[in-house]
Symmetry: C2
Subunit: 267 residues, 2 copies
């Protein structure tokens, strides 16, 4: 189920000086412990609590419920106090997107690792089900990551989301890698070449899977699209107004996908 916990910091400082930078590391007088660390520890704890409360609010009221004032209320603070930790509401949301996306990536990676001894079909099935299961168990998190997170939010250039997305895509490249021996011949006519992909993605994918051609990375992105589409329609409630068996649909999708990859649909 991979609950969402946070460790990223990405903080800002109070007005005035650029702080969080208690330059000297003075020693405590009597305890022998670095007294310097205390404030920083409190700061880290408060930062973590802000994010924790924000995620709780999100879980119960959707991404829209993430408001500085509500968080502050919950923590017994003033809304403005949060500005000591995040320069702006969007910065907070960006940090949350990072944490939540990381939790998703952890969940699918774990499913992949857990099936390391099995065949490609079973591993791909496990990955895909982990993706869907996480998304349905964390619908609000899914909407935070992939939808319009919060009223006026605009993601920063190149921020947390693309980074985490690349991690997920690297996992998908692993699926393509596993399927490639059987599937390669189907994509011989792919027009993709390395320059078609983002450099940041290739930096992760090519070292991990040195033998994989561009066509396989394109395949990974297409699989991402398939899974994302079905899950997204389900999370946003568009699918349940058409069928009462979205899970059956997902399973048939997987079967068809595996078949079209040339993998025995076994099981």
């Amino acid at each position: 189920m991979a609950s969402v916990e946070s460790e990223t910091v990405s903080e800002t400082t109070g007005r005035g000086t650029p702080a969080g930078r208690s330059t000297t590391t003075g020693r405590g007088t009597t305890t022998g412990r670095r007294t310097t660390g205390r404030r920083e520890r409190l700061r880290a704890e408060t930062t973590a609590e802000i994010k924790k409360v924000a995620l709780e609010l999100m879980a119960s009221g959707g991404p829209d419920a993430i408001t500085l004032r509500a968080i502050a209320r919950e923590m017994g603070m003033t809304a403005n106090a949060i500005y000591g930790y995040f320069a702006t509401r969007d910065d907070l949301v960006t940090a949350l997107v990072h944490d939540v996306y990381t939790a998703l990536a952890d969940a699918v990676d774990a499913a992949w690792e857990a099936t390391s001894g099995q065949g490609p079909a079973d591993r791909i099935r496990a990955w895909a089900h982990a993706f869907r299961d996480w998304s349905l168990a964390n619908r609000e998190g899914f909407r935070l990551i992939y939808g319009d997170p919060v009223p006026g939010y605009r993601a920063p250039e190149g921020g947390a989301a693309p980074e985490a997305a690349r991690r997920v895509c690297t996992g998908l490249a692993g699926l393509a890698d596993a399927a490639w021996p059987q599937a390669a011949h189907l994509y011989a006519d792919s027009e993709f070449d390395w320059p078609d992909f983002d450099a940041g993605l290739l930096d992760k994918v090519r070292p991990a899977f040195p033998d994989l051609p561009p066509a396989a990375v394109a395949l990974a992105l297409r699989i991402w699209g398939h899974l994302h589409g079905l899950v997204s329609l389900e999370v946003y409630g568009h699918l349940r107004t058409q069928t009462v068996s979205p899970d059956k649909l997902f399973r048939e999708e997987l079967a068809a996908q595996l078949r079209s990859l040339g993998l025995a649909s076994g099981r």
Copy 2:
């Protein structure tokens, strides 16, 4: 390009009596024209203008920019005046969702009709490209329909969206119908049965395509998922941080889809 124009009414009345119901049709004194119609005409025009302004605001500032106050400002009115036409902001948004979704359905239907003489592969390609082209040309509309439209919006039970979605799904059933002669044998082991689908959907699909089995409807929904996923990732900017060629990806997706449907990929 199928611009979004509106004709739905879905209005409410001012406080007090349930109006919009000028019961008697009195005749004008001198002109011979029914004077009764005047107010209703003005009313319809104002309703249309509200929606038009709302769509303009959405096009320029995203769904978030749809605020009663902004619309009123644009129209030289007070925000509260809008309550004479829509009981609530969500009602307005619901009307907009209906109009925009209808525009999307019109666009894909038109592409389908325009290729009525051609083979299934070409028709499916045309439909899919119309879907993507409309979505990219109306990104904000796509987000309005498929995302979280506006801060606190919750779609009404069974409202405009499922209805329009069913129309799109019926179009998709047309694709499945076109492909079915070649593709049927691939889905012989489908576990879908009629009760798995929403009755409202079947009411539209089964009369239109009497020979289509449940498996084909499931196929239609899966194709919807494929296309929606890729386009959704693209509209929300998740794809462009991984590849610079989302269009190439979409074309390869279509080629693979057609191949997996047993349709010659011929172009």
